[in-house]
């Protein structure tokens, strides 16, 4: 059963990928959905065994690399962290599979899409269930690959191509960090699987470097500040892809890496502080950018970025388990928000611009309610799932040993989060209609294949936080220091203020200022990176390494130069044979003279 959970998505990917032309779109959709749902049910049984009955499972599958000092096995490890990730990955994936059968119904390449989705699920499962860093790296690269394939699903669109390449390359920067971290771990501790590594840990100076490199890996994959620019661009893919990859699963791989390596981070306070700072800055940055975006998917993408910042920040407070908890709840409400946005986009005939929506609450009541639940959960409204995890993180940051600034950033972010989530709701559902006539005429709820997953996720967004509260903390949590009452009230107050501000805002006279433009262009990160990093590197690559070295020095010293030299010399030599008699005689005589000189 443990193997089946992982293999079923792979079989489903192969089935709908290779057999797609025989199955057709509908058949492939059905096949992939059913198989992934079976895998999902199996994973629930697994989670029951692991989380409730507390039976951690280790499976050895075989040797992989066996050399003198490095031994790497194929192996699976099902412990508490893996169990939570299993729920996140397979549940969201199953629901997205069902959702896609409706959302992508008209697409001629549905089998390919389903195949990619299942393949992605498989790689994500490999990532979370591996028992060593090398096998984790397979999954890590695999999800990057699938992300490329899925963002680029409509491969005829140039923007999709560019976004996919960007995602792949920026992820690769983080991958280099992870690879270096793996090498350092092997050099320092001599082992790569978790059990041996975490039992032989000893404080050493390399720990800090390992953790910093691991953080770089997480920064790339989880779209933290600096390497975040791929995530908003990845919205070029279809909406289910955004929901599956860029909300619930792939971006959480970076956070998962930090959670998995938590024992390492315990030995490195420096790296932990860096993690906390990076997380809090990302949360704040992404929230401010989310305030002014006009694309409905980009708003949610920046919100994902911001919430990932929260998770990383939680890891920076020595409380990885609360990070995992937020990961779990976030997966549910963020998938809900993305799929809800997909439902809106579907109903409005692929209109993604918030400024061209409005007043659709009457025609899409169910979507409205579900989006409202998702947004309330995201803002941490009391008794919804976001409340449990987010307020926990905020209290942890208040008590964190290192920096109080993290707390303030997190609190301001909570306020901004409420504001942008409800701005989205307000602009799309409540404000005055701003639609075209054709989309008004077609406005209606989609079928139940599309709404069913939304309903499940809606229920999940309400109850998961409460249910998982005991599951996640089953193995014991570090005692929470008591916080003043006002500190525990602040997030809720901030959220409510943010929500209210959205409804007051239209009455405040606003004008587009340079500051808003600065926020709209995401703090000019892309421009700065392109100007100061991208274009010099590009120019260096073209002028120095291509034109000067490859086609210049090496060509002249190598084939072209030598050939040209030989041709010139032989040309000159054969020019000696002028055809003129007197020259021949001269050469003959000079030759004889030289010969006489030397023959004597």
């Amino acid at each position: 059963m443990y193997l089946l959970v992982i293999l079923i998505p792979l079989l489903s990917a192969i089935g709908s990928g290779l057999g797609g032309r025989y199955l057709g779109g509908k058949g492939a959709g059905l096949l992939a959905s059913v198989w992934v749902i079976i895998s999902c049910l199996l994973s629930f049984i697994l989670c029951y065994e692991i989380l409730i009955n507390g039976s951690t499972v280790y499976i050895e599958l075989g040797r992989w690399i066996e050399s003198y000092l490095l031994i790497t096995n194929f192996g699976l490890q099902f412990d508490m962290i893996t169990a939570v990730m299993l729920i996140v990955v397979i549940t969201i994936s199953g629901l997205v599979h069902i959702y896609s059968t409706s959302y992508m119904r008209e697409d001629p390449h549905l089998p390919r899409f389903m195949s990619y989705l299942s393949l992605f699920t498989f790689f994500m499962l490999v990532l979370v269930t591996s028992n060593n860093y090398v096998q984790l790296f397979i999954g890590w690269e695999g999800v990057g690959l699938c992300s490329y394939l899925l963002i680029n699903f409509w491969f005829t669109r140039i923007q999709a191509n560019k976004a996919a390449i960007k995602a792949m390359l920026i992820n690769r920067i983080g991958d280099i960090g992870l690879m270096l971290a793996i090498i350092l771990i092997w050099k320092e501790f001599g082992t790569l699987d978790y059990c041996s590594l975490f039992s032989t840990l000893h404080p050493s100076s390399a720990c800090t470097w390992i953790c910093i490199l691991l953080t770089i890996g997480a920064i790339g994959k989880s779209a933290q500040l600096g390497l975040h620019t791929w995530l908003p661009d990845a919205m070029e893919g279809p909406t289910p892809v955004s929901a599956l990859i860029h909300a619930a699963t792939m971006v959480t791989a970076g956070v998962f890496l930090i959670i998995r390596s938590a024992p390492l981070f315990d030995y490195s306070p420096t790296a932990t502080i860096i993690v906390g700072l990076v997380g809090s800055l990302t949360a704040f940055f992404a929230a401010t950018v989310g305030l002014v975006q006009s694309d409905i998917k980009k708003v949610i993408a920046y919100s994902t970025c911001s919430q990932l910042g929260y998770m990383v920040m939680a890891c920076g407070t020595y409380s990885c388990i609360s990070s995992l908890y937020h990961l779990l709840t976030h997966a549910f409400f963020k998938a809900l928000l993305f799929l809800g946005a997909g439902s809106i986009i579907h109903a409005l005939l692929d209109e993604q611009d918030l400024r061209k929506m409005g007043g659709i609450v009457r025609d899409l009541p169910l979507t409205y309610i579900l989006m409202l639940i998702g947004s309330l959960s995201l803002t941490g409204f009391p008794y919804l799932s976001g409340f449990y995890s987010k307020d926990l993180i905020l209290e942890l940051t208040y008590n964190s040993y290192c920096l109080i600034s993290i707390y303030w950033l997190a609190t301001i972010t909570a306020f901004l989060t409420a504001f942008y989530s409800f701005r989205l709701i307000y602009l799309s559902f409540v404000s005055k209609p701003n639609l075209t006539r054709t989309s008004t005429a077609h406005l209606q709820e989609a079928d139940w294949n599309l709404l069913g997953p939304l309903l499940v996720l809606g229920v999940g967004s309400i109850i998961v936080g409460y249910i998982a509260k005991n599951m996640v903390f089953a193995s014991g949590i570090r005692p929470l220091l008591p916080v003043p009452t006002i500190v525990s009230l602040v997030p809720v107050i901030m959220s409510v203020t943010g929500i209210l501000l959205v409804f007051i805002r239209p009455y405040i006279k606003s004008r587009g200022s340079r500051f808003l433009l600065f926020l709209f262009y995401a703090w000019e990160f892309n421009q700065i990176a392109n100007y100061y990093l991208g274009s010099p590197v590009w120019k260096f690559g073209h002028i120095v390494s291509y034109r000067t070295i490859d086609r210049g020095i090496l060509e002249i010293l190598g084939p072209t130069g030598i050939a040209q030299f030989m041709i010139n010399r032989t040309q000159q030599l054969s020019n000696l044979q002028s055809g003129l008699l007197f020259n021949y005689v001269l050469v003959i005589l000079v030759g004889i003279a030289i010969a006489l000189q030397y023959l004597n």
């Binding site: 000696l576 044979q577 002028s578 055809g579 003129l580 008699l581 007197f582 005689v585 001269l586």
Partner: protein, 97 residues
């Protein structure tokens, strides 16, 4: 001794004539004759100095060869002139490398 100097000078004049001559093939041929004559004189001088007859035998043979050579050379030249209409040495570069 003066014979030696004389014949060497004639030999050099002949060679320089071949090398420096740019205009006419006949001059070249005449210079070749000059070289052969100079070598004949050398041989005769050597035969006189060494008291041997081999030099004179060679001299007679060279005279024969020179006569034959100038006859064939002139024949080639006449034919060449008939074909090309010129016997300038500088125009003689059809076989350029």
């Amino acid at each position: 001794m003066s014979y030696l100097v004389l014949s060497t000078i004639i030999l050099l004049i002949g060679i320089l004539g071949i090398i420096l001559n740019r205009s006419n093939l006949i001059i070249t041929l005449m210079c070749v004759e000059l070289v052969l004559l100079a070598s004949t004189i050398l041989l005769l001088f050597e035969s006189r100095v060494l008291y041997t007859l081999f030099g004179q035998i060679f001299a007679i043979m060279i005279l024969t060869v020179a006569a034959a050579e100038s006859a064939i050379g002139l024949a080639i030249m006449v034919n060449y002139y008939r074909l090309r209409g010129t016997i300038a040495v500088r125009a003689l570069n059809l076989l350029r490398g």
